[in-house]
Symmetry: C4
Subunit: 244 residues, 4 copies
């Protein structure tokens, strides 16, 4: 096997020994990069700390760049890779670093968010996601329907609570849009406590909405869970059939 073939195997075959070591190294670097990004958002960092973080960033980005260039170099169809999903992610993970150098510093801070897309590179090496994908396909229609019904329900809840609470708490339930935030935090049962009804009408309406809404919002979860066990059993069947 020539250099190109061996590099290709190193980059794309985590089932071989060298490929596994490489993949694990890249994954560790992604994790390191995410941790340093997070630490970088802490207020009151010393100059030494900021410098160390900057050096770690430079080194990881250089390695990611080398990997990106190698992938293009050994690919049979370089353009296809560049415009593939992972090709774009790989570029997006390193590009902000180079672009940022020429920009205003504050802009850089927000651009850095893009670096997180690197986390999707982890996904690249994970086969198990396929089964989850299969479950989503099984429950697709119901998920769309319930997404639709949930949205309607959230909107109607927001309008209803606006109608009941706007007069009593004009500063809190300012508009239907403000009430939508209440609808979201209530029907997901998060309930921060920043907005809640105080009138009898609003409380009764909330009770009514919760009785209907909790089920609607929670059903998709049950659907995906049952679809996942279907997908698992289907897989076992496929494997059984493959044995014959």
């Amino acid at each position: 096997m020539n250099f190109r073939g061996r590099t290709n195997r190193l980059l794309n075959s985590p089932e071989t020994r060298s490929g596994r070591v490489f993949a694990l190294t890249i994954q560790s670097l992604i994790l390191l990069s995410l941790v340093t990004f997070s630490i970088g958002t802490l207020p009151d960092l010393s100059v030494t700390e900021t410098k160390t973080l900057r050096w770690i960033e430079i080194i990881t980005v250089l390695i990611f760049t080398a990997e990106y260039i190698l992938r293009i170099a050994v690919s049979d169809k370089p353009l296809k890779f560049v415009f593939s999903f992972y090709g774009i992610i790989d570029l997006a993970a390193i590009l902000p670093f180079y672009i940022a150098s020429g920009f205003d510093l504050r802009v850089v801070r927000s651009f850095r968010l893009l670096r997180l897309i690197r986390i999707l590179k982890l996904v690249k090496y994970n086969k198990a996601i396929k089964r989850f994908h299969k479950a989503l396909v099984i429950a697709k229609e119901e998920l769309i329907l319930f997404g639709f019904v949930s949205t309607i329900l959230l909107y109607l809840s927001a309008v209803g609570i606006y109608y009941f609470e706007n007069k009593a708490q004009p500063e809190i339930f300012k508009s239907v849009f403000h009430s939508l935030w209440w609808a979201v935090t209530t029907l997901t049962t998060v309930g921060y406590g920043d907005m809640y009804p105080v009138t009898s009408g609003g409380k009764f309406f909330t009770f009514f909405v919760l009785m209907i809404g909790l089920g609607i919002i929670a059903i998709p979860t049950g659907l995906v869970a049952s679809a996942l066990s279907e997908a698992r059993n289907g897989n076992e069947l496929d494997e059984l059939e493959a044995d014959y």
Copy 2:
């Protein structure tokens, strides 16, 4: 096909090309109408903004009115349509606009809420809801039973917490009715934090109620989810049988 037949197909057959375009246009107008209604509730709107919103409202209502009249005109049994579920909704969606013109402005604001029923027109075009309906039929008896048990549980929880907390927090747990609000927000796990027990007895009672109650309240969701997968499998069976 004559004018009446073609109009009928346009209005009622979203599976044809022209019917689909028409249905999508009406749906977009409903969405636009809902968004403008929501924006209209925002405080501190300028005169220009209020005017624009008013114009959008007038135009959409006129289109909905034209649609309503057409539906009556091309229907074989006009009276049957007028008194059908969607006939009443279609009328309810446009009527407040015309009634409002002759009333006091503040009354109009509350009447505008009825405009939201327009959202149900969206449902009209959605076939997928039938499967959800089937699931509700399957789980009907259990849903009624658990609705009943949940109501009893909420009431008993309210009385219990009133008994424990009324003396310690007379201003918050004022009566059984006020305690019912606590029972609703606690057993649905929303937990706004506007009412919570402070006595040891009340806290122990809450623990006890939650251990029993969480299951009771959450079971209907699981029932509907399993009924939905039953309905889906039943559908697949029906389709398989239809193939033979």
Copy 3:
């Protein structure tokens, strides 16, 4: 049929016309009695309102007493009825009223709570509960296990958070018992917001506990839901077999 037989049918056969009317009347009176009890807990009632509530109470209790005496009179084994579950409940529903007359008024208020047991009389007429009972029998072992595991988990969470937060918030996380209240409101995801960790250690511990605990606490619900659908399918089977 003699008087005794007819009265017996009236009291115990809700499937006949007269029995149904009687059962519905008693149920309505129970509901009325619960509503008036709840209204009676409202502060600032006028003298007229208090009087009206008192009269409604006297009348409903007299009717319940008449029903109780009739049930003893027409029963084949009066003593068996008196000491049966429903016999005791029926007595408990009327007894506080008569005992209260001779006692201090404040004691009466707390004794009135017992009147709520009347709600269990509603249960008497409800057959559908049997299926729920069957589901509980199916999932019994798992429910006990998870009840046990949940209790251990709540205790360990309380000790853990006490360890992390006691120094930082000695007034809020006072002892393991106070921390137990935090564990209950957190693991049930109620989250009132009266107690929450502020230290990094406490927050990380909460994250850890939630990741493990949410599943543990929520599993019994899923178990009962699946047991209920098993019970339903079993019922259908029983009915099918009964047809042959």
Copy 4:
């Protein structure tokens, strides 16, 4: 049977009469020990109370020590028991007491936490846990995948909300780490109310994250529940087969 055999049966055979009495006694002592530990954390205990608690602790630890020594004495392979899971737990439950005597008092308080491991001794006698273990094995792969996806989701949510809210609430959403706490309390729907978005962007982002995230976080529960019913049915099958 000689002394060693009889002691062995007493210690390890809860299915015999004497073994059951012994196991129940030990379990009661563990519970007593946990209750006294909890009471010991209460502030403002009198000298008499502290003394009583100390005496109960001394007596229970002495009994546990005697049990530990007996277990070593009657074991066929003493070293194997000492280094087994339960051997280490049994030692860990009594060791802090002896170590504490020679240390500073404050250190003792934190060491006492280890005493809680005694609760795991309860597990020792519980067979039912095996079925739960079986369910975990069935759903293992999915649980790892969802644990992984949940972690990614929590991190991305934290970064997103930091991006939206840091400028508006720099003191609350201080860094990505502080935002992680928000992500945990929100996606588990605990919602204490100590941190919540106030900007429109942050609220919309929360809505978006909740719609996707609730399902992801809740799916493992559904998976374990369905795996448990699989494990139960499998067990019944095993028992049926064992009958033949």
